[in-house]
């Protein structure tokens, strides 16, 4: 046998015959579920631990006054207070509802706009670059128009959210459509897909990964626009995360500000998990899962 073995350790540790392997495959899966969960969780916990640790150390050094940079202790204490108060839950309920509705509207507008612009050369020439330009328009520039159009109503907030997120989503669609493999386009056309059917059977599914990426970016825009937009209308009996964030800053309440930032991060993590799951499902289907890591 050859003296120098390539990756032989990795290969020999699985010296089992084929059918054995088949049987073991099932068991391995059971065993590994817990360990996979652990593998996905410990780095997060470690990162969290390191971040909080550094924060605490910086606070201990007395670099800044506690009212300028409160330590983790007071912040988590305030977060606990906050979580026990109705303010967080009411605010979160309002904001989440607005975010979901606004994002849904933005998705509709963004997808339609993206598909329309991608589809027609004239629309693309006319509006294509306008999409990015609109995307760079800061939310506050839209406030006067929002008030003109919708007065002080929830719609004004939606308007700002949709204008913030829809261009981003449309850009995702455009990117996806632009990179549909030409061979698949030809295949689709030859199989009889034309016009809308070509979109339904070829372009949309082929562009799906890019569209999901665009939706993720769109969510970030929607959420940030919402945080700003929630100050537009402080509506009767309805508090919101965006308003609370600004109040915390207005009252120089560093602890509450950081507590709200933690809440925003947690919401972001949850949303990312949802997008991550969708993306993973697509990658599994397409057979491009878990190859980059190797």
């Amino acid at each position: 046998m050859a003296s120098d073995t390539l990756a032989s350790t990795a290969r020999t540790d699985a010296q089992i015959s084929g059918l054995d392997a088949l049987e073991i495959a099932g068991r391995e899966k059971e065993l590994s579920r817990a360990s996979r969960l652990w593998a996905a969780t410990w780095p997060k916990l470690a990162a969290l631990g390191i971040a909080v640790g550094i924060w605490q150390v910086v606070v201990w050094t007395g670099w800044k006054d506690p009212w300028a940079l409160p330590g983790p202790g007071p912040v988590f204490a305030d977060l606990a207070d906050y979580a026990l108060s109705s303010a967080l839950w009411d605010g979160l309920a309002t904001t989440a509802r607005r975010a979901v509705l606004g994002f849904a509207a933005a998705v509709t507008v963004g997808l339609l706009l993206g598909l329309a612009v991608a589809r027609s050369k004239i629309l693309r020439a006319a509006l294509g670059s306008m999409i990015t330009a609109l995307q760079t328009m800061p939310s506050i520039a839209w406030f006067p128009l929002a008030i003109l159009l919708f007065q002080l109503s929830e719609q004004a907030i939606f308007f700002v959210v949709v204008l913030g997120a829809a261009p981003s989503i449309a850009n995702g669609v455009l990117h996806g459509v632009d990179y549909v493999p030409p061979l698949l386009m030809r295949a689709g056309r030859n199989l009889g897909a034309q016009g809308l059917n070509l979109y339904r059977y070829v372009i949309a599914p082929a562009a799906l990964p890019a569209i999901v990426a665009g939706l993720k970016q769109g969510w970030a825009f929607a959420w940030r626009s919402l945080m700003a937009g929630e100050l537009l209308v402080v509506i009767a009996a309805r508090t919101s995360i965006g308003a609370q964030l600004t109040y915390a800053r207005d009252f120089s309440d560093a602890e509450r500000l950081m507590a709200i930032m933690i809440v925003i991060l947690v919401v972001g993590l949850a949303v990312d998990a949802a997008f991550g799951a969708a993306d993973k499902a697509i990658r599994r289907r397409w057979g491009v899962l878990d190859q980059a890591g190797q």
Partner: protein, 327 residues
């Protein structure tokens, strides 16, 4: 030299940098004039370098003071109280007043008295700020209820001042309790003054801007603070004696940052509702807080130690002017 707080500690032997914050705004007229006309620079002398910073809103200025990026700033009563109470009375001291008045309730033409406000929407700059408290307290005295959430007889809608002009012109609100120059601007968009807040205060005086210094800087460089207060007194002198020049200076200063000089007419219009006084009118701040507690917008705050008016009184004494009462 915008470095550590420790820099130059131990007296004013070495050169010291004074980082001073203010808003390019009518209510900050003494600051604008003091910087633009070189009044501060003159009073501070060669040993102290003035590093002025302009802000658009209070929170950033307070953050800057807290983080040691500013040594002193002109600011309104609301952030003053917040900064004092959040730092448990440690971070800041008020060393002088700057301006009084300049706040009013502007309403749509059809509204002629408090009772006409029932069911109407009134804007304020921010939930729990001076004007928000003032309008709620005043309404309460008129027998009208309000709630923190915007319910009650009169609906209070806190929103940015810029937005207030937009919502007022588009008819979404019926009035607003705001400071200058927004009072004038609302009047110019067809509103009328229903209440001039000066009428609600003794001597028609209440604080709208005062001068805050960080306690650390005050401890390290009391002499510089003295010079700054001297400058403030001189600036007010200038503002009051040469209003035209002061108004022009404000218009120019705003123009430098915003790209468009502010309309002089508007400044003149707002000017009449303001009084530039060195007295921080501590009683009005205290009363305002009591009102806030009264309308259940805040818990009582102990303001003891907020004011350190020795420097101001030194300055006034030197000029032979009446001293103010240390609260």
């Amino acid at each position: 030299a915008c470095g550590d707080d420790s820099e130059g500690a131990g007296g004013s032997s070495g050169p010291v940098t004074l980082r001073l914050g203010y808003f390019p705004n009518i209510t900050h007229a003494p600051a604008v004039v003091g910087v633009e006309k070189g009044i501060f620079a003159e009073k501070l002398g060669a040993n102290v370098k003035l590093d002025p910073k302009t802000f658009n809103a209070g929170p950033a200025a307070i953050e800057a003071v807290f983080s040691g990026a500013l040594d002193a700033t002109y600011i309104g009563p609301n952030p003053t109280v917040n900064a004092f109470s959040k730092s448990k009375g440690e971070a800041v001291r008020v060393v002088s007043g700057a301006a009084s008045g300049g706040v009013a309730l502007v309403v749509k033409p059809g509204i002629n008295g408090p009772q006409d406000l029932r069911g109407k929407k009134i804007a304020t700059p921010q939930l729990g700020n001076t004007q928000d408290v003032a309008v709620r307290y005043w309404l309460k005295q008129q027998g009208l209820t309000t709630t923190k959430e915007g319910g009650g007889d009169v609906k209070i809608v806190p929103q940015e001042n810029a937005q207030t002009v937009e919502t007022f012109t588009s008819g979404a609100i019926d009035g607003a309790w705001v400071p200058e120059p927004f009072v004038s601007r609302l009047v110019n968009s067809g509103g009328k003054v229903l209440v001039d807040e000066r009428d609600l205060w003794p001597d028609r005086k209440f604080v709208i801007t005062n001068l805050l210094v960080s306690t650390k800087f005050l401890k390290a460089h009391p002499d510089v603070v003295q010079k700054l207060v001297d400058g403030q007194v001189a600036a007010n002198e200038f503002v009051n004696s040469k209003p035209d020049e002061a108004q022009q200076a404000i218009s120019d200063a705003i123009g430098k940052i915003s790209g468009k000089p502010l309309d002089l007419k508007l400044i003149k219009q707002a000017w009449t509702t303001l009084e530039f006084t060195n007295d921080p009118i501590a009683t009005s701040l205290k009363a305002g807080l009591d009102h806030a507690v009264d309308v259940k917008l805040t818990d009582p705050v102990d303001l003891k130690g907020l004011y350190d008016l020795t420097y101001l009184n030194n300055a006034l004494k030197a000029q032979g002017k009446p001293e103010v009462v240390q609260p």
